[in-house]
């Protein structure tokens, strides 16, 4: 397992909004989360990303106080909250199921938290009204949640949490139940709201695109372990290991042996990659390269070049994907934009011999 430094760039003197310190959660002998350490900076849009069962929701529930960690400590704004129940933590949650109170009106749902805190009546009325305005639900204030659409219910859940002005807002796959168009719209809206009010968002998702487009930083989890933590660019362009490389979008992984500035494929030519630090001579490696980083035509000087055979052509509107065999059993996918140059009639077809190339700095050598 490779773990990159998970520390946020903090404003000096200000503790991280959330700190997980070697947190573990085990059920019997199996670990849901193991040795997770994270610092989340104040005002950051932070996402926990991973496939189902990777421990992302468990981690979020431990921050919220719904699940007790087996080991480790959780700090909010520098204070140890590990032993505190949810109602004593200054965080609020947007649940995956929204968990609205169906017997209360939209207005009373949103006012629920402020009433528990004993905020004055007039202030409650004002803050609730402002918040409902903010999420465009003012006209629906007297309706029951059961009479609302999915997107509206989602906004009620968001308003109900945000009206309390928590230090940290936890969001458990809040957009998973929405259809694609609405999801795109809510992604933009969520990001806007977060920038406006400046609250720290911790966002759980299994959707890489969502994590890439929304987060300031993202932590990729797999099987309870932190795989990598960094900016979207970090995890996409410089994945720490083959799991991250293949989970974040598609990546070609070519197995081979590292030898003085190149990766020698098991049955095929050597692929030049340039010198790499920290990789031992003759060690088994995977060469990782994104489909959009491989060129098929007009190869530029300085590129690594390899011959291959086109095996499959998949046309999908704006792009075309080619499956190209570089050596027996080694096939890479190549993504081409369907610009004027590569029109339908120009496209390569199966069986054709082509030369592919890439800039050595675009490929990664993973142990």
């Amino acid at each position: 397992m490779t773990t990159t430094a998970a520390n946020a760039t903090n404003a000096p003197g200000r503790p991280p909004a959330v700190r997980l310190d070697t947190v573990c959660k085990s059920y019997g002998s199996s670990y849901a989360v193991q040795d997770l350490s994270l610092d989340i900076a104040p005002g950051e849009f932070f996402s926990l990303l991973g496939p189902s069962g990777c421990g992302k929701t468990t981690s979020l529930r431990m921050i919220g106080g719904f699940t007790d960690p087996t080991e480790g400590t959780i700090l909010l704004d520098g204070a140890d909250v590990t032993a505190l129940p949810p109602n004593k933590r200054d965080v609020n949650t947007v649940f995956q199921s929204y968990a609205l109170f169906d017997h209360l009106s939209v207005r009373d749902n949103v006012a629920f938290g402020l009433k528990r805190k004993g905020v004055a009546r007039t202030e409650i009325r004002e803050r609730v009204a402002t918040m409902l305005e903010r999420v465009q639900l003012a006209e629906l204030a007297e309706r029951r949640p059961t009479t609302l659409s999915g997107g509206q219910r989602q906004r009620v859940a968001l308003a109900r949490a945000l009206v309390n002005r928590p230090q940290v807002l936890l969001l458990d796959e809040p957009l998973a139940a929405l259809d694609l168009k609405l999801r795109r719209q809510m992604q933009v809206e969520l990001k806007q709201i977060q920038r406006e009010i400046g609250i720290t968002f911790v966002f759980v998702t299994h959707d890489q695109d969502e994590a890439l487009t929304m987060s300031d930083r993202t932590a990729v989890l797999s099987e309870g372990h932190l795989q990598q933590c960094g900016t979207p660019e970090d995890v996409y362009e410089r994945p720490a290991n083959s799991f991250v490389a293949s989970f974040m979008g598609t990546s070609n992984l070519v197995p081979g042996t590292y030898r003085s500035g190149g990766v020698v494929m098991d049955q095929g030519p050597e692929l030049p990659v340039g010198p790499r630090e920290g990789i031992a001579e003759d060690s088994r490696v995977s060469l990782a390269i994104r489909p959009e980083k491989i060129w098929l035509s007009d190869l530029a000087p300085g590129m690594a070049r390899v011959n291959g055979v086109v095996r499959e052509t998949v046309y999908s509107g704006p792009t075309t994907t080619y499956l190209i065999e570089l050596a027996p059993g080694v096939t890479v996918s190549v993504l081409e934009q369907n610009t004027d140059r590569s029109r339908m009639e120009d496209r390569w077809s199966g069986g054709e011999h082509v030369e592919v190339g890439w800039f050595p700095e675009h490929c990664l050598v993973l142990e």
Binding site: F66, V91, A99, H103, R144
Partner: protein
């Protein structure tokens, strides 16, 4: 969009005839079900004492009933027992159901099974056992002992109805309440119980109806004076059927219908689903 009309479909022999047999069966079914009750209602308005010849319309048996202090006392006692049993079994039954759903271990599932035993125990066994228990503890039989026995008997019904409803609740809703600053108790009171209200009302109606006219358990656990209404009616009938009983029966019928109507109507007040869902405990 067009749908194929019934006429356009090729006529199949037999299927489009009027279901005469089914119709006859339905009529017979309702006749068997309601004729005896109809007779009781009809003769409660008879001016004569006869139970075979209807003479004129009269309210004399109702007048008699309201002047019969023993019967009035019995009615009062039955109402009291039903109300107390309803309240007591609701509190205990809802608490038990919450505990059973949330206690997911061996003890919990064992308790869940034991809880079902009272439902299948013949009532007469429960009755005799209750009486022997009270006698053994030297507790004199009275209205109080009837109440205790009826509460014990009713808890299982409440628990069975509530348990499935609680299991179907989204656990995130109670967590959301705590997330928003509610304590455990507040989350229960402000979120969980309101969500369970339809099922709680359904059990309340059911328990009231079951206990109000329960004979067996009441017979074994009651004192001499007053006696629950069903027991009183039973002893009165042993000395010949009085038309007053018809009047009592009719009043009980009206009361039950009113109760059902109320049960159907209450959920509408809350802006919820129809009351029929409610009665089936869904």
């Amino acid at each position: 969009m067009t749908t194929p009309s019934a006429a356009a479909r090729p006529a199949r022999r037999g299927t489009d005839r009027k279901p005469r047999f089914a119709l006859a069966m339905t009529v017979a079914f309702f006749a068997v079900l309601y004729l005896p009750i109809g007779v009781v209602v009809l003769y409660s308005f008879n001016s004569q004492k006869s139970l075979t010849v209807f003479k004129d319309f009269s309210l004399r048996w109702y007048r008699d009933f309201f002047h019969d202090q023993l019967l009035i006392d019995s009615l009062g006692m039955s109402l009291q027992v039903a109300l107390v049993a309803m309240a007591g079994s609701l509190v205990l039954g809802v608490t038990l159901a919450l505990g059973l759903v949330r206690c997911r271990n061996r003890l919990g599932s064992l308790a869940g099974l034991i809880m079902l035993v009272p439902l299948v125990t013949p009532e007469i066994v429960t009755g005799v056992a209750s009486m022997l228990l009270f006698k053994g503890m030297q507790i004199p039989l009275s209205t109080g002992t009837v109440m205790l026995a009826e509460i014990t008997f009713s808890i299982s019904y409440v628990t069975v109805i509530l348990r499935s409803r609680i299991a179907a609740l989204n656990p995130e809703v109670e967590e959301a309440a705590m997330d928003l600053g509610a304590t455990r108790w507040q989350a229960l009171r402000l979120v969980t119980l309101p969500a369970l209200l339809p099922s709680i009302l359904a059990s309340a109606v059911l328990i009231f109806a079951l206990v109000f006219d329960d004979f067996v358990l009441a017979y074994f656990t009651t004192g001499v004076d007053p006696q629950p209404l069903p027991v009183r009616i039973y002893s009165a009938i042993r000395f010949g059927v009085q038309p007053t009983i018809n009047a009592v029966g009719t009043l009980m019928l009206v009361g039950s219908i009113a109760l059902i109507a109320l049960a159907l109507f209450i959920p509408r007040l809350f802006g919820r689903r129809g009351g029929l869902d409610l009665l089936s405990g869904k």
